[in-house]
Symmetry: C2
Subunit: 341 residues, 2 copies
DNA sequence: TTGTAGGCGTTATCAG
DNA sequence: CTGATAACGCCTACAA
């Protein structure tokens, strides 16, 4: 019982259906070009043979893979999960397959993964944020691989982006919070090097400070990797500085929940003793105690629109158009007015 | 400036280096078969030309893709993230690329993804848990695609698995908790249909009940999808039943954190009024208030060992061997003795 | 150690 | 509407 029968090929189908391979190929890729009668016959034998096109052969001949690559900074938390899920659903409904990998927020890892994806013939790439070595964009341009950036929106950049304006989103939140009369402002940001989202969020807080009559240089800022633990540590450290901030803006919800824990450990009540805000509005923000005031990012919409636009860029061989999907403030319980001194 | 120069091919390299394509191919795939002198020369021209092998052509000719597919139930939380990260790192260091997709805990979606991955020529597959339609295993066997199961360990099943014994792990935790004198036991489980991990964890709790002199049929059980919200809802509902459980075992940490929130909303103190446990020990378990007593799963080790074993199965064309990596209890603050009645 | 040449499974062009 | 028949880029016996 050593059946080594190899999978059926286009040829097998053609022979069995009594047509040429070209016709079978058409039945699969361009059904309306084939007469009803032969199409039905071919499709039947395809089914009866259990034939599946060979992917490698197909992409070699067509010079297309119907594959799209996405490199996200992390899979360790849900920040990108919802958007990616939507991205992949849209892709799938259009006949594309998604290849994901995560760079762990490391520029060199991301670069290598970009090259791998290109070498594998990805028809297009989705990248998060704009910041990266210009050489990479050159490379991608030379290879003629369409690239779309998500989670950011910047109309002044050559690479098309679909997302939202991180700076003004954070500024809107900070405006609202500072209006409560906070005077000493702290911020726990993700590492801003090679991360325009993080940088823009910092800028947003500073914008609000300036607008609120504060000196942006007085911002107490700590940059750490995005993790619960780093959020807690940064918060603890920040609360020991003078002047002690009455509000701490966090670069994302994970950092904020870490900060919440830090407050608890220090016996500080939120928001009575100190206000804390997040960013992203992942499910965690609602589970936290107190629930987090944060910025709601259009996760699924970004994924869906990015898929549509990237496919359009590929199929219509045109350059992508950027789109600002906006973001909105979600007011919950982690923010209040500062304590009277 | 419409340079349509296509990427260099093996042929280009060969011509430029003054050797045959076979030699260039060897330099890439079997360097020690080529004399030092020509190898150096070829490698130089490869570099100067910026040559990258064409993936489709290579896999078509070699009938191998150096690609491994993994289908995980979800990317929405960190349950599988750490293990997958380790899996991918190991794969990468051995020259393989990982293709991930998530099934959203849906059997039919998983099946479709399996077929896609196979059609794309994945050299091997990593699946989570044993439970699935036997027809799928048949299909995979016919296609001669090596499959390894992770996050479960069951030596009595044909498909090799690398993970831990969910039943005895949960039992160990339950033994310890019930020994505190809990008499009314509740459990919030993930949906157990087509999910052996969930089923085994339930069985583990029942085992402990029986061993502790309780009637396993008295277990108050609710099955819900794994999410914070469902954890909260299930907990709230459960606490309104009679007899009210003094401890609630949760199928994973996400559910447990949801339950914690439910307790808070109901004004119940944990662990004074009710004990709650998790499973998996993701970072969240430590951030929760109170910190979660849970089961620590060997995330990274599973990923690493699974990669090694799967590659061995592929390259040595042998059947895989299962491995029990064990799990351990992590005692934190969410468990205490029951309140005196 | 190196070269020659056939073949891998599809798509696409061009006649018919 | 359908059928030959070149590519596509690389691997791998087999020969030298």
């Amino acid at each position: 019982m050593t059946d080594m029968k190899p999978p059926p090929t286009l040829d097998d189908v053609a022979r069995m259906a009594g047509v040429s391979t070209a016709t079978v190929s058409r039945c699969i890729n361009d059904p309306q070009m084939v007469s009803d009668k032969t199409r039905v016959r071919v499709q039947d034998t395809i089914k009866s043979l259990g034939y599946t096109p060979n992917f490698a052969a197909r992409s070699m001949a067509a010079k297309r893979t119907f594959t799209i690559g996405a490199i996200i900074p992390t899979m360790e938390n849900a920040i990108f999960a919802r958007g990616l899920q939507a991205f992949q659903e849209s892709l799938h409904s259009r006949g594309y397959t998604l290849l994901v990998s995560s760079s762990a927020y490391q520029a060199d890892a991301e670069e290598e993964q970009i090259r791998t994806l290109v070498a594998r013939g990805a028809d297009g790439l989705l990248l998060i944020g704009h910041d990266r070595d210009p050489a990479i964009y050159d490379y991608l341009a030379r290879q003629r691989v369409p690239v779309l950036v998500a989670w950011s929106y910047d109309k002044d950049v050559a690479t098309p982006s679909i997302g939202f304006d991180n700076r003004s989103a954070m500024r809107a939140l900070a405006d609202q919070v500072i209006a409560l009369n906070h005077r000493h402002i702290g911020m726990i940001s993700g590492v801003s090097r090679a991360n325009d989202r993080a940088r823009m969020r910092i800028a947003g807080v500073k914008d609000a400070m300036t607008a609120g009559g504060l000196d942006a240089d007085d911002l107490t800022l700590i940059e750490v990797p995005y993790s619960f633990r780093h959020g807690t540590e940064a918060f603890t450290q920040m609360m020991q500085q003078e002047p002690r901030p009455s509000v701490v803006f966090c670069g994302n919800d994970v950092l904020a929940v870490g900060a919440l824990r830090g407050a608890k450990q220090m016996g500080l009540r939120v928001p009575e003793d100190v206000s804390i805000t997040g960013f992203d509005d992942i499910e965690l923000a609602e589970v936290a105690q107190p629930e987090l005031t944060t910025v709601r990012v259009p996760h699924r919409k970004m994924g869906t629109r990015a898929a549509e636009e990237l496919i359009a860029m590929i199929e219509e061989k045109r350059t992508g158009v950027s789109e600002d999907l906006g973001a909105q403030i979600v007011t919950r319980q982690s923010v209040g007015p500062p304590k009277a001194p």
